[in-house]
Symmetry: C2
Subunit: 239 residues, 2 copies
């Protein structure tokens, strides 16, 4: 059974303000929830139409109709869980670090987190203007990768001023990434969907990289930030 | 002014059945519509809150409220246009061709069309099970690239049986793409989001390619099909 206070809490977690206030975030779908249950994350409540066979006090069996009422998805997937937002670990600055300058689209951030997981990027640094990684749409797009990537929200300008590893940034007018020698240790900065890397951050970038375009002059102006990130991370990792 | 018959027509174009029946598709947003107006596409009607200063008979000025009523977007962007679905050109089979085996997500297909445009892939072959490229969500994600890529829906198995260029396919267990010599002419097949390349198509693939994973063993199972396509197209094009 779903109480009114449950519904109110879950619905509020769509907004960053209430996620911060309560310290909780929402995850949907059996597969992702099962993956997160096996991590160090702390479960607060699990609402499901079919039992997960876990400790009964955390599990609340609900009907399809009730799930539809609390789900953020058009097509709910059997279960919705509330987890505690984990503490952020200190940034290691070992190896390659990815930094995002105001990436706004939740789907893009989710895809980028999944890419970090694939390419073994331990730390993802987000500027304060980047969409919140506990946004339900981000969580949905990460497919469980959220637990394996350490995500920190920082003042990106200050952060880049204080580190001393090479800082790379993605720019339309940068040097062709295919010709560059790319280090194992460094930071790659990706910019906002519409405006790219901001002026203040641009001033702190040592090497501008770009992905060559092979189409006609008429071709598309830019790549989507998630696909550009995929190509650049692959270039940093390939041998 | 928006007539009832306009509303009915536009709303129906959300469905593939009616797009085929009427031979029309919907495009939203000033920037994309302007780009498409400069192409060879034939405009059927333009509904806009601000005049585009084009031939008056095609342009219908509407209010924000009316736009909200016909738009497929949560946040409509000033204009909605109906264009005629163009005729498909014959497949050239020159250079690199991309083929999709039952890619279902409209956002993924839109991103892949944009990638084809960027990497100068003239022909995109879709299996009949692939989402319709005139789906409004696909059009939205292509950002205008739809006019520069020739998209054909075919019986993919039959198509692959009849061609004689090397056929590559993306598989988890394929050979590392970074070690392979990739030709300028050939076909790259990408599979479905959940199931990858189907068995019947797999039998027709000469070379299986894969993108190495660099994370821990615990890492994400797979890359999103659009990001995997980005990396593989980049590998085919890089020198």
């Amino acid at each position: 059974m779903l109480s009114k206070s449950h519904i109110k809490l879950i619905t509020s977690l769509k907004q960053k303000k209430y996620r911060l206030q309560h310290g909780f975030f929402v995850v949907e779908g059996v597969k992702t929830i099962k993956e997160l249950l096996q991590s160090k994350l702390i479960l607060y409540a699990l609402y499901t139409t079919e039992s997960f066979n876990i400790d009964a006090k955390d599990e609340i069996l609900i009907t399809e109709a009730e799930l539809k009422r609390i789900s953020f998805l058009t097509t709910p997937n059997k279960a919705l869980a509330i987890f505690k937002i984990p503490e952020v670990k200190p940034i290691e600055q070992n190896g390659l670090v990815l930094a995002l300058d105001a990436v706004r689209d939740p789907g893009n951030l989710g895809t980028i987190i999944r890419l970090c997981d694939w390419f073994g990027i331990k730390d993802l640094i987000c500027s304060k203007e980047t969409v919140d990684c506990f946004n339900p749409k981000v969580i949905q797009a990460t497919m469980g990768s959220i637990i394996r990537v350490n995500i920190s929200y920082v003042d990106l300008e200050l952060f880049l001023k204080e580190i001393n590893v090479p800082v790379y940034g993605a720019f339309m007018e940068g040097e062709t990434v295919y010709n560059m020698h790319l280090p194992n240790k460094g930071i790659l900065v990706m910019g906002n969907e519409a405006n790219g890397v901001s002026k203040d951050i641009e001033a702190l970038i040592r090497k501008k990289v770009s992905i060559p375009r092979f189409g006609d002059l008429q071709a598309t102006e830019s790549l989507n930030v998630a696909t550009a990130t995929a190509i650049l991370l692959s270039e940093f990792r390939r041998f």
